[in-house]
Amino acid sequence: MCPWQGELKRIDDYRWEIPQDYKSGMKVAGLVFADEQMLSVIREEQALEQVANVAFLPGIVGHSMAMPDIHWGYGFPIGGVAATRVHDGVISPGGVGYDINCGVRLLRTNLSEDEVRPKIRELINHLFNNVPSGLGSEGKIKLSEKEMDELLRLGAGWAVNRGYGKPPDLEVTEEQGCLQMADPGKVSARAKKRGAPQLGTLGSGNHFLEVQVVREIYDQNAAGLMGITHRGQVLMLIHTGSRGLGHQVCDDYLHVMGVAVSKYGIALPDRQLACAPVESDEGRDYLAAMACAANYAWANRSCIAHWVRESFAEVLGKKVEQIGLEQVYDVAHNIAKLEDHVVDGKKQRLCVHRKGATSAFPAGQKGVPEKYRAIGQPVLIPGDMGRCSFIAVGTDRAMQETFGSTCHGAGRVQSRGAARRAMRGIDIAGQLAEQGIYIRTGNPDELAEEASSAYKDVNDVIAVTQGAGISRKVAMSTPIGVIKG
């Protein structure tokens, strides 16, 4: 891949602009959050061209944005944020991606590292057996057609009603685990068939379960509200999405949008950006189907969290209530949502696409759970399996500049092939064991593709979001046990 040669205007240490005149057809400028060193890596591929391409979307406002974990995607870059006006703008399934509502859920415990480390192998092995993961894995819950439709309408609430999760979990889930605009009638039979056997499965690729230990607390007050009180405290992080159901919804609607771009006379530089007016039949149908897939993902993470709780209780010989395992938060990082934001001094209804980006609403904002209204919405930012993860909160600055958005993770720097070649002959599980991290995976061949060296250092990514003021870090944790899907 050739490096990107376009012009970038430095705004400050953390902000870089792709001028609107970089490419004829851009409706707004691009805005990239990165530091100078990171930028030299980002420039090695065509991710910034994709930021420019997103600026072609009709009705886009503000900037076509890239978070510091940006890397080369297809259509949108991963780490991309774009907001379009609802009344005359478009919605693009490519701005959400195939894994609709891929996201992370964090549970906190009352346990300390000393209590868990001696049993970490047993715990990880138990979790590995209890949570179906890996290629072709099938779930333990069998769904009838009627149940599937209910699940798609209700999201995490469906899971809680079925005993997979607790009512307080919903209060600390983005959108309370349910996008109300869901209409199962807009989801194809194929998507439902693909998703039916996969509920409660982790999947493969970069999806994971991690047992983590708190290493640093930067904001005692915010951390305390989240139930995170001291270094050495054990946390549990779950990363997965909407599985085959979401993939099929995206696929189905890219086909619909491919026809819609001609119908509405929309000119785009990349077919993967295919879109339709938000307020068209095609746009509304996609939003209704996407909401179903998002709801499926929230139900999926609820089911997995339930088995995580069971596994901890069984291995540690304690009741779940004694262990804690309360949910801190659950965020989506591949989603489009209709939100009100102030643009040019006026409140506007926007369709905010977050593709590998997390919402980061500030204190006092509607949409932030009551529990966190005083500190801002929790933001969960996993790093790679050998480094660390961060908990942050949203800020006013994010609301003003990024439609309340920040990064979602570390972001890849190496292709999967390059990662494999670099790690050839290296015992990755052995290396992690030396760092005190026990890992299980159903697909050891894929482990090299997820090696630390294949990712940016999440510390660098967080330094940018912190420096730019689009989220504020609260705590940092490192893994002691990992399941890779």
Partner: protein, 139 residues
């Protein structure tokens, strides 16, 4: 023609360039290339056949939908294929027979999950009587 396909790299995902002397061969080789990313095809027995028929308004959509049919067969039906006979007729109609078998965890080792074939920068080009297409997959 010597080369059926080659695997190419993409930071987040993976892709192939498929070749063919005519559109049907291009489609079959694209399917072979994609399958090779999911499994060692030599471990798949051509025990059953599955027909796939499609019609689209343009060749790029036909290629993406064809590959996504094969992904769907694996994800929803548990069917994995190793051989593909594809004919394209007037009006961009695709008729294919895929030969393979039911996935058997005891004998088959999947390499990776492919979520979908994408439209990203996808063009079918004809040069010196050879068709080629670069396809990026979401994994």
């Amino acid at each position: 023609m010597d080369k059926q396909f080659e695997v190419i790299e993409h930071t987040a995902d993976i892709g192939i360039i498929a070749y063919g002397r005519e559109p049907g061969e291009l489609m079959a080789n694209a399917a072979r290339g994609m399958t090779s990313l999911m499994i060692d095809p030599l471990t798949v027995q051509p025990a059953l056949s599955n027909k796939i028929e499609l019609q689209e308004q343009d060749d790029v959509t036909l290629l993406v939908e064809w590959l996504n049919e094969i992904i769907y067969a694996l994800d929803a039906e548990g069917l994995i294929f190793r051989e593909f006979a594809v004919a394209i007729s007037a009006g961009l109609k695709l008729s294919a027979v895929c030969y393979g078998e039911k996935l058997d965890a005891a004998r088959h080792k999947l390499k990776r999950e492919i979520k979908a074939a994408t439209y990203h920068n996808l063009n079918i080009v004809k040069l010196n009587n050879v068709y080629s297409a670069k396809i990026i997959f979401d994994i």
